[in-house]
């Protein structure tokens, strides 16, 4: 080939290559910079909801920017492909318009052929550049996903394991909803993030729709963000969902002494904690005010007022500080609610309890009432109802709700022990002896049923006043037992029931049967 011809052909091919690379460059810049297909959080959420609709109890994807390899990388690739195709079509269009009929083609024969070859070389060069970009994207996204997906799975698994081991949950004291982890309020906008586990929105941090960085995993988010209830949006204490969460309702008949027991036991637990230099605090204002009011009554020896049916029914305290602390939720409701415990809303807290305290007023037992005169009963503000009815109502509610009481512990607290002793009764202090004593005075059905229905039952004699120095009648003993049984790191303090063995269903049944005979 003549080198003059060869150089000309080479120059034309070089021009075609430059045109092809330029076409790709223009399409690429347009796809990634000038007019990108930006996958916004709302779009990603809608797509995810369409592909995998949220099931019962699940929430749609939070409004945060998805991690690039999960979605945006593929959107960029698709937009570049479309742009490359469009640019190629544009450069082929003039030639097609000129030579779209056979006559025109043959009149200037070599020109159309040269043009077709020129454009073909340009298109091949453009397509080759795109293929390189596609290969880089596929390999890059694939490598990122190969790293991210297993890492997210490992981190989720670790967090799930920790959640199970530490029993970390998020309890709302407003609506009593218990979630595995709370939702978190974005500090930069009104959006709530309901699932901060590692995943397609990030591994360690996520970026909210507004651009604010949020830490992922409840363990990290709990101390940096404001936790809110998954159901009602009420604020939760710092650390909710990351520290051990223990819920203990107190139930019993009207005037059984539930509120007094709650504050007396709280007072006792606070004293033993203080002696062991374990910090006890109240993470919210309502709890602090309620505790201050209740503790002031106990410490001053004043009478406890009857709990209103509309009064606040729960308080939260924090045992310890920081990441090693524990959140304890104590629930108390007016006795009227327990007369019809199957009503769904007022006693919602019973459904997610981990341990229960049943306060039994001994002055409501027929046998005791017969032995004492009317004056003593009036002084004791005796509960009027049958103590077994309230227990049955609550037990039925748990059964009807499908709550396995067989996983729970029950502390049966015989209140007003100081009044009983002052009335001349010789009271036992040992759990099993108390059970036998109760069976002997006609409460055998309750003793039998409790032993049969709950995983573990212990019986306590408590007094809110005049607690002996040896811990007899210590009102803190039932609470300490339930808390330590659920993993709370409480110091071993006065505990009148520390000595007795565990009161399991089978031995109790036999012992009560013996006592009755």
């Amino acid at each position: 080939m003549n080198y003059h011809v060869g150089y000309s052909i080479a120059a034309v091919i070089a021009c075609a290559l430059v045109l092809g690379v330029s076409l790709f460059a223009v399409a690429f810049v347009q796809a990634l910079v000038r007019d990108p297909d930006l996958i916004e959080p709302a779009t990603a959420r809608d797509e995810q909801a369409k592909a995998k609709p949220a099931g019962p109890g699940e929430f749609p994807l939070d409004l945060a920017w998805p991690y690039y390899p999960f979605r945006q990388g593929w959107a960029d690739l698709e937009r570049t492909r479309l742009n490359v195709a469009r640019r190629n079509a544009q450069v082929w269009r003039p030639g097609r318009a000129l030579f779209d009929n056979a006559a025109g083609w043959w009149i200037v024969f070599p020109v159309p052929l040269a043009l077709v070859i020129f454009l073909s070389v340009a298109s091949v060069a453009c397509a080759f550049c795109f293929l390189v970009y596609a290969l880089v994207t596929v390999v890059g996204n694939g490598a990122s996903l190969a790293l991210l997906v297993p890492s997210a799975a490992i981190m989720r698994g670790w967090e799930r394991m920790r959640r199970g081991r530490m029993r970390t949950q998020a309890t709302c004291m407003t609506c009593f909803h218990v979630a595995q982890w709370p939702a978190y309020q974005c500090p930069g906008c009104p959006h709530t993030h309901r699932d901060v586990r590692p995943g397609r929105l990030g591994l360690l941090i996520r970026r909210c729709e507004c651009g604010t960085h949020l830490p992922l995993m409840a363990l990290r988010a709990a101390w940096r963000l404001t936790a809110v209830c998954q159901r009602c949006g009420a604020p939760l204490p710092p650390g909710a969902g990351a520290v051990r969460d223990i819920r203990i309702p107190v139930f019993g008949d009207i005037s059984a002494g539930k509120t007094r027991f709650l504050f007396a036991s709280l007072n006792s637990v606070m004293q033993t904690s203080r002696r062991a230099r374990l910090a006890v605090g109240f993470p919210d204002t309502d709890s602090r005010k309620l505790a201050e009011f209740g503790l002031s009554i106990i410490r001053s020896g004043r009478e406890t007022a009857k709990t209103s049916t509309n009064a606040q029914v729960g308080l939260t305290l924090r045992l310890g500080t920081g990441r090693r602390s524990e959140l304890v939720h104590l629930f108390d409701a007016a006795g009227e609610h327990f007369r019809d415990a199957r009503r769904p809303d007022a006693l919602r807290f019973l459904d997610d309890s981990q341990g229960l305290v049943y306060v039994l007023d001994p002055f409501s037992i027929e046998d005791i009432r017969k032995r004492l005169g009317g004056t003593a009963l009036r002084l004791a503000h005796a509960a009027a109802g049958d103590p077994e009815l309230t227990y049955d109502e609550v037990a039925s509610r748990l059964r009807d709700s499908g709550i396995p009481a067989s996983n729970q512990r029950l502390a049966v607290v015989v209140s007003k022990a100081d009044l009983l002793r002052s009335a001349g009764f010789d009271l036992p202090t040992d759990s099993e002896a108390i059970a036998r004593w109760l069976s002997g005075i006609g409460v055998h059905n309750l003793v039998l049923a409790a032993g049969r229905e709950f995983a573990e039952v212990r019986f306590f004699m408590v007094a809110s006043q005049e607690v002996a120095p040896d811990g007899q009648d210590d009102p803190g003993a039932p609470l300490r037992w339930l808390l330590t049984a659920h993993g709370a790191r409480l110091p071993v303090g006065q505990d009148s029931a520390a000595t007795p063995g565990r009161h399991r269903s089978t031995p109790v049944a036999s012992e009560v049967a013996e006592a009755r005979s």
């Binding site: 080939m1 060869g6 990634l32 920017w65 690039y68 945006q72 990388g73 729709e209 507004c210 651009g211």
Partner: protein, 60 residues
């Protein structure tokens, strides 16, 4: 209160990284065809064409 943001920085970073890698590969291929850089073996593959077009005699 912040307004909704546009392209997040991690998207820009990813795009820059992938674009940079693509550019490097294309440059390596181009310079390799021209007989330079790390992929000079490509130049041997297109040797018959450059020879036919007398391109290998430029500069002689």
């Amino acid at each position: 209160m912040k307004t909704a943001m546009r392209t997040p920085p991690h998207t820009v970073a990813y795009r820059s990284f992938i674009s940079g890698i693509t550019l490097l590969i294309l440059l390596a291929l181009g310079s390799g065809l021209a007989g330079h850089g790390p992929l000079t073996s490509l130049h041997q593959l297109v040797q018959p064409i450059t020879h036919a077009l007398h391109l290998d005699r430029i500069g002689e």
